[in-house]
Amino acid sequence: MSEGAAPLLTVDDVSLEFRTRSGTVRALQHVGLAVGRGEIVGLVGESGSGKSVLCYALLGLSDRAARITSGAIRFDGIDLRAASERELQDLRGREIGMVFQNPRAALNPIRTIGDQLQDVLRRHHAIRSQDLRARAIACLREVAIADPERRFGAYPFELSGGMCQRVMIALAMSSRPRLLIADEPTTGLDVTTQAAVLELIRERARADRVATLLITHDLALAADFCDRIVVMHAGHVVEAGRTARLFAAPRHPYTQALIASTPAGRASLDELRPIAGGLPDLRRDDLPACRFVDRCPRALPACREGLRHVSGAAAEDFACSNPLPVA
């Protein structure tokens, strides 16, 4: 973690549900995590794990049907749940930067990227109009976009996916935020571009000591770029810990199963171990305490009754009544 300093972002025992026509979806339950200054935390999970739901909840951008039923989300001591929309708008973009999947969709196609960059700068900073352009070009240069003066006047469709994502990072980092949330920033990008984009994020995180939350479904990617990893399954945080430790000696059976089903680093197809079964229906009232119990090789009857959830404050933690033994 970050040398004993208090984490910048803490999520403490957060539960969230969606009211839908077909029932109440308990999308998040007792979720806890923390990100410190200059630390890159990977939030890893498959589809349906709740990682994106959590990301939007952090930013106050959840769907209208969503309700946070318990817990606290704190950014530098500010209670984000209690904050007004105005306060959140001020935070978003200035203190908290966001980078989303599919950068082309996030950019306005009929305005140049220079204009969009200037918009963000103007909104969050008192910069004189004549300085805006220079500042925007400087932001582009910081994300290694070649020939930034020419790109300033370019439209999103003229840029490649990788370059659009760099523009998004420039937009996100333009106000020097202290927290960066990146939701699957490289999905859909080429492998070589992916590596470059993530390297850029890492570089900025280290240089400005930005707390970074990287959300991804790609475990191998998280392993390469994150200091700590938080693993989610069906709305629960199942394990959190330093990357090296997590891969070498996972405690939660789901973490181990996820690692075993990843193709990276395997010698043959037979070594892949798919995870049996599927996600439980989160609308049900009678869900077991541990939502992995029906697919878990180490399941005990006690697992259905109760579960101690991962604490946001702990650097290393897991939520399992029958964890894998310490190696």
Binding site: F18, S22, V25, S62, D63, A65, A234, G278, D281, L282
Partner: protein
């Protein structure tokens, strides 16, 4: 912003068609109202002559222009005919005209539009220019012109209304086909051994139906108005045939002298009919779109 996550496990086995119908009707109360109105209209159209309390053609000069009463709920017109009975019987004619016109327009327009959108090239050019030509005219004037040219018969009202409506179907079908021609399932269909027309008719066309369904329903309302409008100015339907448009025309001259019911009731019935068709548009789309089956 972020969508609600999909239910973790897929929904239970596909419900039978009856189940889906019930779901669509109960989900939105407006749909139910529209469906009931529509059902009532269809019932009246089918059962017309038996429901009518009086003979719609029977004249009785001694009872002319009587206001609504117990014996004549909608009053009587200038020739002593019961307006309620005439309205009921007219439903059959008006709905019949509208259904025929819309069906014709839909069949021809949707096929042409789908082919134009799917194949592109010169089929597209020909069809689009034809549609543009039709749309260049004020549509009602065009309908009048067609009926006047072809002859003053009911069949020609249907044809005129159908022609005038073609561009709308062509455009919607063309746009939808254009979007879908590059879809993955179109390539799948080719891999499955479908020739180009097979792909178009078996895969692209059925998927166009939900968006067009809304169009169909709105059109029904418009087609009724069109037929009524043509009759109002004397084209198409001839007296003494009861038809809502003619009845409004006949009643218009009596409004000033205070016999408001002669024009109002046919007009109100016309309005309710058009209204219910418009409401039904959404319900039709829900019914036809398999993705709304849960």
């Amino acid at each position: 912003m972020n969508a609600v996550p999909a239910p973790a496990s897929p929904a239970a086995a596909a419900a039978p068609r009856g189940g889906h119908l019930r779901y669509v009707l109960t989900e939105n109360p407006v749909t139910l109202v529209a469906a009931l109105l529509f059902a009532a209209l269809v019932a009246v159209a089918l059962l017309g002559p038996w429901l009518a309390p009086h003979d719609p053609l029977a004249t009785a000069p001694e009872r002319a222009l009587q206001p609504p009463s117990g014996a004549h709920w909608f009053g009587t017109d200038a020739l002593g005919r019961d307006i309620l009975s005439r309205c009921i019987v007219a439903a059959r004619l008006d709905l019949g005209l509208a259904v025929a016109a819309v069906a014709l327009s839909f069949a021809v327009g949707a096929t042409l539009g789908a082919a134009a959108g799917y194949f592109g090239g010169w089929p597209d050019r020909i069809v689009s220019r034809t549609a543009d030509t039709i749309m260049a005219f004020p549509l009602f004037v065009l309908a009048m012109g067609i009926v006047a040219a072809l002859g003053n018969t009911l069949a020609n009202i249907v044809i005129a209304t159908a022609i005038v409506n073609l561009p709308f179907y062509i455009r919607v079908a063309r746009a939808e086909a254009n979007v879908r021609r590059e879809a993955g399932f179109v390539e799948s269909a080719r891999l499955a051994g479908n020739g180009e027309w097979g792909v178009l008719m078996r895969h692209v066309f059925p998927n166009l139906l939900p968006p067009i369904a809304v169009q169909v329903s709105l059109n029904m309302g418009w087609a009724i108005l069109n037929a009524a409008g043509l009759s109002f100015i004397g084209l198409g339907v001839r007296p003494p045939t009861p038809e809502w448009g003619i009845m409004v025309a006949e009643g218009a001259q009596y409004i000033v002298s205070g016999e408001w019911w002669v024009a109002l009731f046919p007009g109100a019935v016309l309005m309710v009919a058009v209204f219910s068709f418009n409401l039904l548009g959404d319900a039709l789309r829900d019914l036809l779109d398999p993705r709304r089956r849960t």
